[in-house]
Amino acid sequence: MLRAYIPIFLFILVGIAFAIVTLIVSRLVHAEKANEVKLEPYECGIEPQTDARDRYSVRYYLVAMLFVIFDVETVFMFPWAVVLDRLALFGLIEMFLFVLILVVGYAYAWKKGALEWA
């Protein structure tokens, strides 16, 4: 069964190789005339006054945390979805409960204003 994955790995390798080869080919033929000013990061023609790697605020981090939880829940749905017809009514009710718990958490987060961040 795992043999089916070999082509995927081959594909990844070929993909990476393709990217690297293009970069190398470009490196061989393109011009190299960099200078101090050219290498400055772009900031609309003004010399950057501050570093771009300061501590910046990621205001949506709360949503990002919620995302991690919900995304894991989504993954649980897949195995269930595949065998739903065999689980029949039992599976359906189980999943309803599962989704219900999810929705309660979701509604709570919404109510608490976790989704208004901007």
Binding site: I8, P41, Y60, D85
Partner: protein, 344 residues
């Protein structure tokens, strides 16, 4: 000749090579199509000098990019800076590896057993697509962070904000299809859509899952960073967003990744909702023509949208994703589940 080099093995290798080329060429074609369609939308002619009707324009562009100077900004994290486009392109290309684009061919009896038109058929194909396409965001975030440019940084941040807005609904929409098909293999999903209702309407999941299709496609547009959701590169706001500092071929690779992603999302949407290679009139082994037509139709829609709509704002997309798409996706999933059980 060693024994394991059978015509089938050779055919497989040739297939991998062919699919790779097909993807790269189709994105070149997409660049041309995008420019041409947008030109006609805007009352212009578009590229028409290089090759017939400008068909060779993308190649001319690639040659130009190859010859351009490549700059790595001073304070950039050099390794990540170089790695980012490679990750983007590799993720974009690989996602296509589990998409079936035809039944099987024997090349006029040459191949035995016949060759299936896909790189591989794994039993969790949908998950593979889901996983690999999400990898692309790493390329963008890394590019944004490693450039040490503020515009790139904002672009990278936007990209992750975007990812967390649509991904859940995307997954839930997929789960509903999986439920109908009872399988995670894209080939089986397509096969399950064969036949007609009342000899007229094809049994596409589009008709069983109209909402699911809309959610999937909307999320797909967001995933490929295309207008109206092209925030990470929004040129009027962030100049060029995450690839502001990229030049030459490393910029070209991001460009390629974007178009390959579009092709992949359209191809997956075709398989999941539009019956893949299934279609009337053509013999089975020419099914890939149907596949091409459907994928192209979706791609055309992509282009059409880009040149018609204004851009959303990224907090609005997040609100849309969490407050509209997600509830709808959950309801869609539950209703589908109930119907599947009820109607068997």
């Amino acid at each position: 000749m060693p024994a394991f080099i059978t015509p089938t093995v050779i055919a497989h290798l040739v297939l991998i090579f062919a699919v790779m080329n097909m993807l790269v060429l189709s994105s070149a074609f997409m660049v041309w199509m995008e420019r041409k369609v947008c030109a006609y939308i805007q009352d212009r002619l578009g590229p028409n000098r290089v090759g017939f009707e400008g068909l060779l324009q993308p190649f001319a562009d690639v040659f130009k990019l190859l010859l351009k100077e490549e700059l790595v900004p001073k304070a950039a994290d050099k390794l990540l800076f170089l790695l980012a486009p490679i990750i983007s392109v590799a993720a974009a290309l690989t996602a296509f590896s589990v998409v079936p684009f035809g039944t099987q061919i024997t090349l006029f009896g040459l191949l035995d057993p016949p060759l299936r038109l896909e790189v591989t058929d794994v039993n969790v194909g949908i998950l593979v697509v889901f996983a690999i396409t999400s990898m692309g965001v790493y390329g963008i975030v890394l590019a944004g962070w490693s450039s040490n440019s503020k515009y790139s940084l904002l672009g990278g941040l936007r990209s992750s904000a975007q990812m967390i807005s649509y991904e859940i609904s995307y997954g839930l929409a997929l789960a509903a299809v999986v439920m109908l098909a009872g399988s995670l293999s894209l080939r089986e999903v397509v096969m399950n859509q064969s036949g007609y209702w009342w000899h007229l309407i094809p049994r596409w999941y589009l008709f069983l899952q109209p909402l699911g299709f809309l959610i999937f496609f909307t999320a797909g547009v967001a995933e490929t960073n295309r207008a109206p959701f092209d925030f990470p590169e929004a040129e009027q706001e962030l100049v060029a967003g995450y690839h502001t500092e990229y030049s030459s071929m490393s910029f070209g690779l991001f460009f390629l990744a974007e178009y390959v992603n579009m092709v992949t999302v359209s191809a997956v949407a075709t398989s999941l909702y539009l019956g893949g290679w299934l279609g009337p009139f053509l013999p089975d082994w020419l099914g890939w023509i149907w596949f091409l037509i459907k994928t192209l139709a979706l791609l055309f829609f992509y282009v059409w949208m880009r040149w018609t709509l204004p851009r959303y704002r990224y907090d609005q997309l997040m609100e849309f994703g969490w407050k509209y798409l997600l509830p709808v996706a959950i309801v869609n999933l539950i209703v589908t589940a109930a119907l599947v059980i009820w109607l068997g």
